[in-house]
């Protein structure tokens, strides 16, 4: 067995979720090669070479890969797919975008969002918004997997000493181009890797009211998330959405404020270690998963919480 791991990065730094993907690769077994594709991504390749357990890093540094367009990245990965038995990517919007293309081009099945490795052919994954966990098996010689970052403790960032090989394969499908992006800027920790997350829902009323959550977040060093209803209402941008179809988080502490607890929201946060819910409706389903529930008006409770931290 040998595993190819696709590195998640922004051309400057290696995203920590890659450490979790390498952890999953280690459980599968065999040599681990990490592919860093991007533009001006040499520093990322250097960082990947230091990651514990990695035996080789491939660096494909070219204009064609700058924005990780799925068409180009998939063609590159297919070209490099060689003898790898498993091709792994993080179940992020990047991984979800290109990995199924790779699978289809290789006529290999993809197993999405694995949460556990049973053996090299057998994996667990949540289905139906996490209301069931399926154990699935695939005996094909080659398979594509996306990995749920929160389900695997990342390997150490240091400790490895892999070689870095540059790859000069240029794949530019020429059918798609990057127009622009609007990236959220925040000094707070990243949602999916934060130790503490405080999220607001429709109960927040409007976007300005999120200010009271930001204040608490800054005292706790927390990231701020939201329910889909809060995103749909335009209170906050989509990148803050937690849930079945948003981001999956599993922090030590998750504080849900003005969120009812729909199954789609629970799917994204119910693996958190400690859950707190603040909601004025004592019947809200969120209380069924909360370790500590506070029935209160959030506009009183959150400022009070802020003052007592």
């Amino acid at each position: 067995m040998s595993v190819l791991v696709y590195a998640e990065h922004d051309n400057a730094t290696l995203n920590k979720v890659t450490l979790s993907v390498v952890a999953a690769a280690k459980e599968i077994g065999g040599d681990i090669t990490v592919l860093v594709a991007g533009k001006g991504c040499g520093a990322v390749a250097e960082a990947a070479a230091k990651v514990d357990g990695v035996s080789k890093v491939l660096c494909a540094d070219n204009d064609a890969y700058e924005h990780q367009l799925a068409e180009n990245i998939a063609d590159l990965v297919v070209e490099l797919a060689g003898d790898y038995s498993h091709i792994l990517a993080a179940a992020t919007t990047t991984g979800k975008n290109f990995a199924p293309r790779v699978a289809a081009l290789l006529d290999a099945p993809q197993i999405s969002e694995i949460s556990d490795v049973v053996d090299g052919d057998t994996f667990k994954r949540p289905i139906y918004a996490g209301n069931a966990i399926a154990t699935v098996k695939c005996a094909d010689a080659k398979k594509v997997l996306t990995v749920r970052g929160t389900s695997f403790d990342g390997v150490a960032e240091e400790g490895g000493s892999a070689s870095v090989e540059s790859v000069d394969v240029v794949k530019d499908a020429g059918i798609s181009s990057f127009v622009g992006e609007e990236l959220a800027k925040s000094d707070r920790p990243e949602l999916t890797s934060a130790d503490i997350v405080i999220s607001g829902g429709r109960g927040m009323g409007n976007g300005d009211n999120f200010e009271i959550l930001y204040k608490v977040a800054d005292k706790l060093g927390a990231a701020v998330g939201a329910s889909r209803a809060a995103v749909d209402a335009g209170f906050v941008p989509n990148d803050m959405q937690v849930g079945q179809t948003g981001k999956i988080v599993a922090p030590n502490l998750y504080i849900a404020v003005g969120i009812s607890g729909a199954i789609q929201h629970l799917a994204g946060m119910k693996d958190s270690k400690v859950i707190v819910a603040i909601n004025k409706d004592e019947e809200a389903p969120i209380f069924q998963v909360a370790d500590y529930g506070l029935v209160a008006d959030l506009f009183e409770a959150v400022p009070e919480l802020d003052s007592k931290l």
Binding site: R101, A104, S176, S177, V179, E181, L253, Q288, Y292
Partner: protein
């Protein structure tokens, strides 16, 4: 321009499914079924493009059991002009679905295929990307805005870091995210009209594709159940519990 909209019949999103006692799967007997919510958004987007004069024909397609005709009728009540059911009672996985859709694409030659980003039963999020790869088309996944102009489509995508806009040559594949639009409800007259719209039934053999599953399900279990904790009476008590009992702040 012709648009193909693949739709899936799934458990209604309000249903909390239960795992069968023998761990062979989830219990779907007598459970309410519906069109996958992301597919409803795909149909709505196609209808809006038709209303804008960009699209001339909308073809809905589903691979699944006979009962999926209900969802195809719904799609036609919402504005699809005709539909195709590839009828099978067997489980078909995303790669197989993508192969079947590729065969339909070869026949229908749509300029745009709009799918949901994810079916809420299997949560796979694969089919659109796989179809795009097999058909050699570019893809705009997780779309929150779609603009067709000058033989191209511009797609704004919901990504982890925010929003990204890409431009694709046509024909192209788009997959929908929740914010793309808010689907309309079918009116009674349109539901009646949909009964007369053409619904073509095919078999996988007609398409000449092998839909055999490549992944087997060994067992399906309940996730670890979280039990409700305690209600605290005040913010002070909450802070105390978080500091001294849970030790998380």
């Amino acid at each position: 321009m012709k648009v193909l909209v693949p739709i899936k019949r799934v458990v209604d999103y309000n249903v909390k499914v239960r795992v069968k006692a023998d761990n062979s799967g989830v219990d779907l007997a007598n459970v309410k079924m519906a069109m996958n919510p992301f597919c409803e958004i795909a149909v709505e987007e196609a209808v809006r493009l038709k209303e804008k004069g960009v699209v001339t024909e909308i073809v809905a397609v589903s691979i699944g059991p006979k009962a999926a005709q209900e969802q195809l009728r719904t799609a036609m009540a919402l504005g699809a002009d005709r539909s195709i059911l590839v009828e099978t009672d067997e489980e078909v996985q995303p790669l197989g679905i993508a192969k079947a859709l590729k065969a339909i694409v070869d026949e229908e030659k749509p300029e745009l295929v709009i799918l949901g980003k994810q079916a809420i039963d299997g949560d796979n999020n694969q089919t659109g990307q796989m179809l795009a790869a097999l058909a050699g088309m570019p893809q705009g996944t997780f779309a929150s805005e779609v603009n067709v102009a000058d033989g191209k489509v511009k797609v704004t995508r919901e990504i982890d870091g925010g929003l990204q806009t890409v431009e694709l040559s046509l024909p192209a594949v788009v997959t929908t995210d929740l914010r793309l639009n808010e689907p309309r409800y079918a009116s009674l007259p349109n539901i009646m009209k949909a009964k007369k719209k053409p619904l073509d039934v095919k078999t996988p053999a007609d398409l000449g594709v092998d839909l055999t599953p490549r992944v087997t399900t060994e067992k399906v279990e309940m996730p670890p159940e979280r039990s409700a904790g305690v209600k605290v009476g005040s913010v002070d008590e909450l802070v105390d519990k978080l500091k001294n009992e849970a030790k998380v702040i």
